[in-house]
């Protein structure tokens, strides 16, 4: 029996629902080619960071300006160059190369800091002919005067401003930290999102005990972390009109299958690929195919959402307090 693995994500028809998410692996063409060879059905490029672009440009400006006029160095110390690659040129080169060479849909990712920046760079990327755009919204609401509704409003405003600026399919990648994820998901879609990517894993601060200083670093995910996305994909499936992508904690076929059963259109991998290499992608696709075959599913579409909240016999299970549910499950085994 041949299982039809095709899926639709953001209006794009993909060969199967397993793809690399934004990570350093998708940041250069050599690695992207390896991922394509490993079977990726699409790729999400790393984020174009407005803040970094601006920081680099301002650092350069500062560096060239600040010591001009010191002593005999009346024109500063470094020669003025013809051009500086302070804008998104490197990133656009990557986009162009990926589109030219990979033969699979290329999804660009964008992290802005200002409304103007989000729309400016979204337009620039859309003009490059990307297949879709993922908005990587990362926002630590540490401002004590900012209420949760104001934070939510900022998300919605930026999605709608980008939506107005570009026609390209739009996914919004968010973190799980909303008081009402369901409502937020719906409102993001209303604002113009064609898909939600659940969930973003942020750089978290750490403490370096040798240096006694804060040292942000990214710890690779574990499969256990997939549960959070699993819950919300299951809840949202069929209830809002958009694509759903599962990311975080998908390390192999098992997690991918669960996500699809919960209702994900695609599953995205990063940590497992960084740890095990692109071949883990192949193994996941094969594992997915085998499981579907074993369980006599004809297609991914058939399996998609079959265990969503709407589809299960105990819909409350997705909402129940983890602690209670877990406790009962354990005792039940005894």
């Amino acid at each position: 029996m041949i299982v039809d693995l095709t899926t639709t994500y953001l209006g794009l028809t993909l060969a199967h629902p397993v793809m690399p998410s934004a990570s350093p692996l998708t940041g250069d063409l050599d690695h992207l080619h390896q991922l394509v060879e490993a079977g990726a059905s699409a790729v999400v490029l790393p984020s174009l960071f407005e803040e970094q672009i601006e920081h680099e440009a301002m650092a350069l400006h500062h560096g060239l300006e600040w010591v001009a006029g010191t002593g005999e160095a009346t024109s500063g110390f470094l020669p003025e160059m013809d051009t500086y690659n302070t804008g998104p040129r490197d990133y656009l080169d990557l986009v162009r190369g990926a589109r030219r060479e990979l033969g699979i849909p290329v999804i660009a990712s964008l992290n802005g800091t200002s409304t103007g920046g989000w729309t400016l760079y979204a337009k620039i990327l859309a003009d490059e002919g990307i297949d879709a755009l993922e908005l990587n919204v990362y926002f630590v609401a540490a401002d004590f005067s900012l209420s949760s509704s104001e934070v939510e409003y900022q998300y919605l405003r930026l999605v709608s401003s980008v939506r107005q600026a570009v026609q390209v399919p739009l996914a919004v990648k968010v973190g799980p930290y909303f008081s009402s994820m369901a409502s937020m998901g719906r409102r993001l879609v209303d604002a113009g999102a064609d898909g939600l990517v659940l969930f973003n894993r942020f750089y978290q601060p750490d403490i370096d005990l040798d240096q006694m200083e804060v040292a942000p670093n990214l710890v690779l995910s574990t499969p256990a972390e997939a549960r959070l996305a699993l819950r919300w994909i299951a809840i949202l499936r069929g209830r809002i009109d958009c694509s759903l992508a599962a990311t975080t904690g998908i390390h192999g076929a098992e997690e991918a299958i669960k996500m699809i059963l919960a209702g994900a259109d695609v599953t995205m991998m990063a940590s497992a690929l960084l740890r095990h290499g692109p071949e883990r992608l192949t193994a996941t696709i094969n594992g997915l195919r085998e499981w579907l075959q074993e369980h006599q599913y004809l297609s991914v579409e058939q399996a998609k959402g079959s265990l969503s909240q709407q589809s299960v016999s105990d819909p409350v299970a997705f909402e129940r307090s983890n602690y209670m549910k877990t406790l009962i499950s354990y005792t039940a085994e005894w």
Binding site: A57, H61, H62, A73, F77
Partner: protein, 1188 residues
Amino acid sequence: MPSSFIMVDGNEAAARVAHALSEVIAIYPITPASPMGELADAWSQKGEVNAWGVVPEVVQLQSEAGAAGTMHGSLLTGALTTTFTASQGLLLMLPNMYKMAGELTPAVIHVAARTIATHALSIFGDHSDVMAARQTGFALLSSGSVQEAQDLALIAHSATLRSRVPFLHFFDGFRTSHEVAKIESLELVAIREFIDEDLIAEHRRRALNPNRPVLRGSAQNPDVFFQAREAVNPFYDAVPRIVSEEMDRLAAITGRRYQIFEYYGHPQAERVIVMMGSGAGAVTEAIDRLASRGERVGLIKVRLYRPFSSTAFRAALPDSARAIAVLDRTKEPGAPGEPLYLDVLAALAETGDLPELVVGGRYGLSSKEFTPPMAEAVFKSLHEPEPRRHFTIGIIDDVGHSSLEYQAVWDEPADVTRAVFYGLGSDGTVGANKASVKIIGEHTDFFAQGYFVYDSKKSGSRTVSHLRFGPRPINSSYLIGPGQATFVACHQFQLLNEIDVLELAGKGATLLLNSSHSAETIWEQFPANVRKAITDKKIELWVVDAEQVAREAGLAGRINVVLQTCFFKLSGVVPVEVAVGAIKSEISKAYGKRGEVVIRRNHDAVDRALEHLHQVAIPDSPGEVAGFNGLAQRLRGAPDFVQRVTATMMAGKGDLLPVSALPVDGTFATGTARWEKRSIASEIPIWDPSICIDCARCALACPHAAIRIKVFDPAVTDGAPPGFLWKEADGREFSGKALTVQVAPDDCPGCGVCVQVCPARSKEEVRHQAINMELIESHLARERTNFAFFEEIPDPPRHTLKIDSVKGSQLMDPLFEFSGACAGCGETPYLKLISQMFGDRLIIANATGCSSIYGGNLPTTPWTVDRAGRGPAWANSLFEDNAEFGLGMRLALDRLEESARMLVTALLPELGTEAVAILEADQSQEQGIADQRTRVAWLRDRLGALESPLARRLEAVADALVRSSVWIVGGDGWAYDIGFGGVDHLLASGRNVNILVLDTEVYSNTGGQASKATPRAAVAKFAAGGKATRKKDLGQLAMAYGDVYVAQIAMGANMTQTVRAMAEAEAHPGVSLVIAYSPCIAHGIDMTGQMGHQKEAADSGYWPLYRYDPASEAKGQPGLRLDSRAPTMLFSDFAAKEARFAVLAKANPERAAELMARAQQDIDDRWQLYEQLVNVHRTAEYAELEEG
């Protein structure tokens, strides 16, 4: 000829023509000519072609002598070749100039004329350099303005091809080279069409070519040399005619008419000034005014000075001329007169038509102002019954009484806007003003002029911009004078307390202040003199908080465009809407390539600026205010010279000092920087004794000697001021003692390096260290009192301290303190360290460069004395000769010691056996040196009682019996490039000297040009595409001699190694070479973290630390010891944090990647080599070097 107006400075004006008409350009940096080489290099780097479609090859040499040699070779081989230089650089070219001229070689040297160092160095302008070249056989062509710098550059290049006589084209350093003016430009096509290509073909035909071989540069004998020398005469005779014809050709196509001697003034003038250069502008203005009063006066501007055409000169002079004053911008001591004067006299005498009176005078040395009133005074003096001969104008000569009196004030025309801006070197004021001049020049029919005055300090340096705009070409070749400015802007509020910002403001002028004080409260903040000036002059006052606007626009610290916008609004030179559009367009042009965000934020700042601009209501009277806290109060207790002379210079009034106030031979007392108390820091380090671990790293790393430690008897604190802090000193050797860490609050520039190196942190709050930068306002008063008390605490005797340890070295007084070096300077900590370790017996030969500027630029010097009055004796000779200069010091000391020992021996019968100890003294340690000092004091006592002539002779040399320490100090430009021949000779000498190379890896002082110490992949001026070759390994070259002690150090990487290396170098009885890694603002780093950069330089293997001690070889141990570990980080990770490398990755990623990869190979290769060398034992016997 198609022409258009452009805004350029004199350097650019000349360099554009030179680049267009050259195939080879040999360069070397020297102020104020460096920008010409930098521009030529940058243009060629960008692929800009010359008039014939070829990109000129721009090559940097190791010195101007090298540039001239290369030029000579290139010319003889047929290429059109040029160079740019000034001052000492021109002197180094002289030998080749004789050759080029003697061989009738078409060539042009463009010179931004600058003072030659005599009793002192000066970077400023006069004609002493070009006058030293007048006998070389080069034609000398003088430009007096930016327009002329362009036009006469073309004349020079064309005339040299026609005449075969090489040309030196010069214009006044700074006044013309750095003045931005609106000129009509010569387009490339016009430049090409002006040159006769047949003449170029002839030049090629004369070139060395194996297909038609010839011999040049023969040696000739008495039989023919003389005749051959005379054979060139027809060529020289033809030059004046050729230049005149070229000038006529230029006039025909541009309408700009020049003459080799150009007359201006009354057709029947009785009194005439003869001069060359920019000063003519001031004279023409004086003539215009005198003519309006009916006075018959005139001026001859000398354009072609060599060959001097007597007939042309006579023809230019009105027959009515009765009295002539020839003004020379140079001084030739001992001559019957200065050169131009003598030439004019000779010319007139030869024509047999000598006017009644011809006098000579000097003006404008070292950019001394020359103004219309001074010209008037000269004309007036020619009226006097006995006009003064060999007069000076512009100074007060109360010794030789040579000076003419002149009016200080000169009313400039009403239709010219004159604006003066006070700012800091770091705040972008000058850059914004250059842009403003450009906007007005390019967007209006006005002519515009910008001139920018910089002070010699590198930290907190002040700038004053003088801008003029008017309906006619601006000839005013002098600063805006007192009461003449229609607009004054003070971009830094604190300057109101330091200088007389309103001195130049005229009646009803507008004053724009940048201040965080509001329009309502600002009046209360003014010192009394400012209030009085504002009310007296009825000044219209506006205030803007530019810092706030800049912050809001995301441009913290960059206040320039905010103030620029306000200037346009208030000055009304251009309608404000037009100005705003033009400013934005200039921003887009200037910053566009740096990134969209840079443009956006600057535009935003422009848009916000006017909302924050507010007019201040002026009270009718100044009101009661506390007196201005002047310099005098600060200088109470200072030596008389400081109070009378130094203070005047510090107040910016040095022009008022008469001749008698200054030393006759350039000798100054040291210990003067401490009187500056510049208070430029906004934050200073504050000590928390509860955390301090007594490590002394802060004091060692402090580039300014502004944070100090001291160990003392706790009883001393009985009289301490209430806020004085101390703790129990750690360590057995200091048992029972107290220790304090003290900031010198007025002398600290607030760089923060000390805090960065402090390892002690609070357990409860890790950001709190043993020292922390805190706002100066909260601490200034207390720390002032504390520092005063600190200075009174007795120091421990030197011999009780372990000087080769970090802590021990820091317990000794720094005898190098409070320099004006850049805040956070990477060089000065090393100098301060040697001043602590050996300061009381230190003699320093200091190469020209940053260290000679912050070390010896008036008004003050950071070199100082200890309580006994001893301290470093310091001298700067030149740039290129420093090694030899230092060797001379050593030889002298050795001879003096030898004489002293001989005399002691001869006087032993009289002195007694106690004197034997003097001859046998062991001075290897501090104790031994202290004992010897005691013996020499005893000896002097005894000698006083002896009547013998030998005793008198011995008294004169007895000091040489105490061991002294000769340090030869300079930067990499000196040691690797221009002075390397001398350094190499010194390395081979075996003499007991110490060479300290402060390696910033670029020519820092002249603005960051590449040297052979510049590493591969770094961007620098003259290496705009990234340096393609690897850094020279100076240490390796020195080690090859076998008997030279060599250390490569980086204080931030290993402080202990640094201190030990200095001690070992000094103890080594032969030559020692210490190469010290010195981070510099030219690296494009935040200097606060410079010590961290040093650590990463070592960690990445970029700057391996080592010591090579020949004494170890002698003991059978390997001579080389690697003090840093094998690289633990990639070069790219280190380089990414420094703009000098990172900029290339931004501008040209492919080339950056290639060069970075090769730079990593350099590092790997060198490390491998060094690791092998550690295991190498040399068999040659280590020379037994006797000290002295």
